[in-house]
């Protein structure tokens, strides 16, 4: 059966796509929101550590599945191999309604002014594609606010003296610190830092018709049993559906965006859950598949005007793949510091995001989420026994005595960390798969070492008797914080989209996800992705004139 023509197709029901679908649907556009995964619930995997987003030795609990999906990964030594979704080098995000926002740790960071002006702030960095964004923090500020209020953030808006100017407080009060959080918070204060409660996309009080968090130890990596964690699956997507203008089509794998002879997108080709091929036509197409799959889809959308893929006539699609190197330190305390008040992470310091001598950028440092028992078997100082009585004794003695301070270091983008499509390997539907290659800029190691040193100082001050560092490496990063592969910019020669996320030279094709990020901040990027969703959604809706899409 032929699908009815609609105004807009949004591909990917995650942090970006969910928001755009809602913005368009409530503005009166008819929308089909495509998702390759399905709805997931807490009950499917409950609090099972081996079935969590962070630890998944069997398969990905939040998708995608091992049967139908694969990628090619080219290692730092140049060896390439096919990787399945549950393997680390796959660089998975998620594939379900809400995507990563179902199972994330839910830190709700705004980037800072300087994060949008990295080149202006730090100058050219050799071997990098470091650049300013075409929009500023001020441009995005109202949309950060929308994301905070519509999706729901708890926090203290006066907490971080380094944050950029904001107009409104958070809609919910911050969470109280747990025991290890309080000990480390006090230590950070003593050494002159400025710790404050982490803003969280998690209800601290009843909000938006959903209950407050009851602070389980299993939170990051799991769906929430009481729906207190705020994602797009329980906020904007239900609103889009309630509007009557949005249809959600789950279990659909999109193969390509069709581009006609006038250089306009006419719709998409996709496979439904029974592997039947379909076409859906629309006036506008928005791609929100996250950096790896968005790049793959653009590259697989070949046409006469764009023989190397949509928007790729200048070879920028898939370039500058970024994520975050996580870096920090851990420490063992004499007394038990664990009080089982989850999810663990509760304070942060913004002291090291910028203006560090000799460092380009920096990052936020936080006390870390609780480490569940199996993952804890590998949390050891260097040289510790990996098994036997000594290992077991360590588990028993120290499970409630260890805390870590960690954070994401702002990655310096480089042209060769990239997504291409593999010339040979195809997925279940015969669609060429993403091929990941390259590595982090060599500079990252210096910044990571700097941040790990700072983290260790806090732990020592707090009274940790043994401390050790885990310093971020140079391996390609493209997992849950993936970004950068469809960079926005004013010059079509050195970017993929304009400053509204519209693909250069294809007036009705947009990108709305982390792929747009010119740089990825020293923060978890999800709130920025949501804010971009509101910003782009509003732009499209405003320029929609009822029958066709015209934009200046």
């Amino acid at each position: 059966m032929k699908n009815k023509h609609v105004n807009a197709i949004v591909i990917g029901a995650g942090a970006g796509g969910g928001v755009v679908a809602k913005e368009l649907a409530v503005s009166g556009l008819s929308v089909v929101l495509f998702e390759r995964g399905d709805w997931v619930t807490y009950d499917a995997h409950n609090d099972d550590e081996l079935m969590s987003q962070r630890t998944h030795p069997f398969e990905n609990p939040f998708g995608p599945d091992n049967k139908r999906h694969r990628r090619v990964f080219v290692g730092q030594n140049g060896n390439e191999r096919i990787v399945l979704p549950f393997e680390y080098p796959f660089n998975n995000n998620a594939a379900c309604v809400g995507s990563g926002t179902v199972s994330y740790g839910a830190m709700a960071w705004r980037f800072m002014e300087k994060d949008f002006l990295m080149k202006t702030s730090y100058g050219h960095v050799e071997g990098s594609t470091l650049e300013d964004w075409p929009i500023t923090y001020q441009d995005l500020e109202p949309y950060y606010e929308k994301a905070e209020w519509e999706i729901g953030v708890s926090g203290d808006h006066t907490g971080n003296p380094f944050q950029s100017v904001r107009n409104m407080p958070y809609p919910m009060p911050p969470f109280a610190y747990n025991r290890d959080g309080q000990i480390l918070y006090d230590a950070a204060k003593r050494i002159g830092l400025h710790p404050f409660p982490i803003p969280m996309l998690r209800n601290s009080v009843r909000y938006n018709g959903r209950p407050a968090c009851y602070r389980m130890r299993t939170c990051v990596g799991f769906a929430c049993p009481v729906n207190a964690k705020c994602g797009t699956h329980n906020t904007v997507i239900p609103i889009a559906l309630q509007s009557g203008n949005c249809e959600l089509r789950t279990n659909c794998q999109v193969a390509e965006v069709m581009i006609n002879e006038k250089g306009l997108a006419t719709g998409i080709k996709y496979f439904d859950e029974n592997d039947n091929g379909h076409i859906q036509t629309a006036d506008i197409v928005i791609i929100s598949c996250a950096a790896v799959e968005t790049a793959r889809l653009l590259l697989n959308s070949k046409s006469r005007l764009f023989p190397e893929g949509a928007g790729n006539n200048n070879d920028w699609v898939g370039r500058n793949l970024q994520g975050h190197a996580y870096t920090g330190a851990s420490g063992i305390f004499e007394d038990e510091i664990y009080d089982d008040v989850g999810p663990g992470a509760c304070w942060a310091v913004g002291d090291f995001n910028h203006d560090n001598e000799g460092i380009v950028g920096g990052g936020v440092l936080c006390n870390s989420f609780f480490t569940p028992p199996y993952a804890f078997t590998r949390l050891r100082p260097p040289g510790a026994k990996q098994w036997g009585l000594e290992h077991k004794e360590f588990q028993r003695k120290n499970y409630k005595r260890i805390s870590s301070v960690r954070g994401p270091f702002q990655e310096i983008p480089n042209f060769d960390a990239r997504v291409t499509v593999d010339p040979e390997v195809k997925d279940h539907w015969g669609i060429p798969v993403a091929r990941l290659s390259g590595q982090r800029h060599e500079y990252d190691r210096i910044g990571c070492q700097f941040m790990s040193d700072r983290a260790e100082e806090i732990l020592r001050e707090a009274g940790a008797i043994t401390t050790w560092q885990a310093v971020g490496g140079r391996g390609l990063s493209g997992d849950q914080h993936q970004s950068g592969t469809a960079r926005m910019g004013n010059d079509p020669k050195t970017s993929v989209t304009d400053k509204y996320g519209r693909v250069h030279d294809i007036d009705n094709l947009f990108v709305a996800d982390g792929s747009l990020h010119v740089t990825n901040g020293g923060f978890n990027p999800v709130l920025t992705i949501m804010a971009l969703g509101f910003y782009i959604g509003e732009y499209i809706a405003k320029n929609w004139n009822g029958g066709s899409f015209t934009s200046k």
Partner: protein
């Protein structure tokens, strides 16, 4: 000290050469899903070394071997060959070095054997390339999953590891539902 122990094993190995001393096979009928009865006993011995019983339950008490057996026809079906071959190699190496099956070695001999295997220093005849080290890593990792993961995958019977770590299960703040001293409980491992 460790080096000396390993040297000891090497000398033993040299002294015994490749004399084959495989005892008569006394296989029982296996009630396991994938493992033979002998393989199950071998895994039990190895995993008890990895997570020994002390004042708290060890791998055997936690039915870690049940996790292996269940997952080898489940999520770890892809590792069947690795296990079949790897376990056989452990037996061959043990017989060659000690003239005994691994399960019949003294506790300390078993420890030495596994420490040697961990660093890839068992005699190489049975093992190709990096095989012994990677198989040891797999045994280690799967043991930890079995013992510290959710009971619904076949190990951690009775939530013994959570009890050891003193964390509540299920995760309801303020409620501890472990069996009380008199053994009453409303929870059973799946």
């Amino acid at each position: 000290m460790e080096v000396k122990r390993r040297e000891f094993i090497r000398q033993l190995c040299f002294a015994c050469g490749s004399i084959s001393l495989i005892p008569a096979c006394t296989s029982e009928i296996s009630t396991w899903r994938f493992l033979t009865a002998d393989e199950a006993k071998l895994i039990e011995a190895i995993t008890e070394q990895i997570i020994p019983a002390d004042q708290d339950a060890g791998a055997t008490d936690a039915r870690v071997v049940n996790f292996f057996d269940r997952q080898l026809i489940g999520y770890y079906t892809r590792h069947q060959e690795t296990y079949r071959k790897g376990l056989q190699n452990i037996e061959s190496s043990s017989l060659k070095i000690f003239h005994k099956n691994f399960v019949n070695l003294d506790w300390d001999q078993q420890t030495e054997f596994l420490e040697t295997m961990e660093t890839g220093e068992l005699p190489e005849a049975e093992w190709e390339g990096n095989e012994q080290r990677s198989f040891f890593r797999m045994l280690l990792d799967h043991s930890m999953q079995a013992f510290y993961g959710s009971p619904r995958h076949g190990g951690n019977c009775g939530y013994v590891s959570y009890k050891m770590l003193k964390i509540d299960y299920p995760h309801v703040i303020g409620q501890n539902r472990y069996p009380s001293e008199n053994g009453n409980t409303n929870l059973k491992a799946s």
